[in-house]
């Protein structure tokens, strides 16, 4: 029995007991047993916007790349210009196939001249790792699966920095930079990044230290927030969710991620990306607001296109979402009709981000 169930057993983060204690509703997510909500999505969402939320994102993976060729190797894999990434910097990019299809979207942190850490989506980690290893041939690099070496907590919201600063031995890094800091005596990689549209930090730490950090930030007022609030928060500011808004069948230009693609670097897929950029994409990912009701992932847009994310926005109190639509319908203010389970509902293409801070 034990052997048979081992393959399907959900993995637990080092904060599992904390989630149970906080009254979390736990659900399977990308092979992990994760907290989808605690007190309630709305309350967690609004607390993150008003004060601070803490999210266990330890399901996200890490790939470490080190060696004399680390920079040239990552330049070959990642869509952004890795030579522009300074030591102590953070950079967003996509990982493309040869045909420009998106394998994943990633943040890469440069820890040293020859050392990088790339954070993967949980659902893509194994695929990304295999891709990284496959492409490493001929480069003097060591690519390591670092998933087990790190737990990851995101502390986000207007009070997030103040809360984490109180634990730290030195000033926290600015937005889009990263530094090692001692938090209550434990070494943590503090990153000025996040997925909520709020200021805040993401903390990559030894799994053994995660419960201590969790307790300390809770003690200082951060509210435990689950994956459901993480999703509504990111959608209000139109950050992409892989598997919804990004997929192998679509490229970064139509997804609106051309800013993270520097084709001149010659990354894998750059020729395909350049061709789409020059010709213009047939469809584009737009943000929309609903007049009434809620469109959901998979709902068809009348005349072509599909909703990839949709929810009720707790901050805006209307239905919001993102959809791929034909480029002629992508202009701000365009009226869309969405087939919501057989009922046509009106939506309007709106400027990103939907929530302005």
């Amino acid at each position: 029995m034990a052997a048979a169930s081992a393959d399907t057993a959900l993995k637990r983060t080092p904060l599992y007991d904390r989630h149970v204690a906080a009254g979390a509703k736990l659900v399977p997510f990308a092979g992990w047993e994760m907290p989808v909500q605690y007190e309630g999505v709305r309350a967690e969402h609004l607390a993150t916007r008003a004060t601070a939320g803490v999210f266990d994102v330890s399901h996200m993976g890490e790939i470490a790349t080190a060696g004399p060729d680390a920079e040239t190797y990552l330049q070959h894999l990642l869509s952004n210009d890795v030579t522009k990434l300074q030591v102590g910097g953070a950079q967003y990019s996509v990982l493309c196939r040869e045909d420009g299809g998106v394998l994943d979207d990633l943040f890469t942190y440069r820890l040293g001249a020859e050392s990088f850490l790339t954070v993967t989506n949980a659902s893509n980690h194994d695929k990304d790792l295999a891709w990284f290893l496959k492409q490493a041939e001929g480069y003097d690099v060591t690519v390591t699966d670092a998933h087990d070496q790190y737990a990851m907590l995101a502390v986000q919201g207007p009070q997030a920095r103040e809360i984490v600063q109180a634990l730290a031995d030195a000033p926290l890094p600015d937005r889009f930079t990263c530094r090692h800091r001692m938090l209550r005596g434990q070494r943590v990689l503090v990153c000025g990044t996040g997925y909520t549209g709020e200021d805040g930090v993401e903390l990559l730490c030894d799994p053994a230290d995660a419960p201590m950090i969790w307790d300390e930030v809770l003690k200082r007022g951060a509210v435990p927030a689950g994956l459901a609030a993480r999703d509504t928060l990111r959608l209000e500011v139109n950050y992409h969710l892989y598997g919804n808004d990004l997929m192998e069948e679509r490229g970064p230009i139509e997804a609106g991620l051309g800013w993270a693609c520097k084709e001149d670097t010659g990354f894998i897929g750059s020729d395909a990306v350049r061709a789409v950029r020059e010709a213009g994409p047939a469809e584009q990912l737009v943000a929309f607001t609903m007049v009434s009701g809620i469109a959901r992932q998979g709902n068809a847009v009348v005349g072509g296109g599909e909703v990839t994310s949709g929810t009720m926005s707790p901050s805006l109190e209307i239905g919001i979402g993102m959809a791929y639509v034909p480029s002629e319908k992508a202009a701000e203010g365009t009226e869309l009709e969405i087939d919501v389970r057989g009922k046509l509902r009106s939506a309007t293409v709106a400027k990103k981000p939907l929530l302005k801070k």
């Binding site: 309630g40 999505v41 709305r42 009701g293 809620i294 929810t311 009720m312 707790p314 239905g319 389970r341």
Partner: protein
């Protein structure tokens, strides 16, 4: 969301709906169990007054942040009133499932259907 409760003056459909019978009409809503499973309700799409509902079939949709659920009619009849207040305050379905969270009032077409509904104790037994 208060603690679980299943008032004894109501009758229940196994698909987690309640009916309050009054002189040939009935008020419908969803049970504490249903609203708890759904989580915070953010949208209620009401049916039209005058439309007919059939016992065991969906007559409305209720949406939480993450999911959409059909609401099943416990009895058949014609809708004579809908709770328009839920348009602005769908959270009443969570906060007061048997009171302000009511959904529709129906003129019953076949009162014999009432015999197929469950009392509170029988419904609660289906939940364990």
């Amino acid at each position: 969301m208060a603690d679980a409760s299943y008032p004894t003056e109501l009758l229940y459909h196994p698909e987690h709906d309640w009916a309050k019978i009054e002189d040939g009409t009935a008020v419908f809503g969803i049970t504490w169990f249903a609203q708890d499973a759904l989580g915070e309700v953010v949208f209620f799409d009401p049916p039209e007054v005058g439309s007919t509902v059939t016992a065991g079939e969906s007559y409305a949709e209720v949406e939480s942040v993450k999911a959409v659920s059909d609401v099943i009619a416990p009895l058949s009849g014609e809708i004579v009133e809908v709770n328009l207040g839920l348009g602005d305050t769908p959270e009443n379905i969570n906060n007061d499932a048997y009171g302000d969270g009511w959904m529709v009032k129906v003129k019953l077409s076949d009162e014999s259907e009432i015999n197929s509904l469950l009392d509170a104790a029988a419904y609660e037994a289906t939940l364990s």
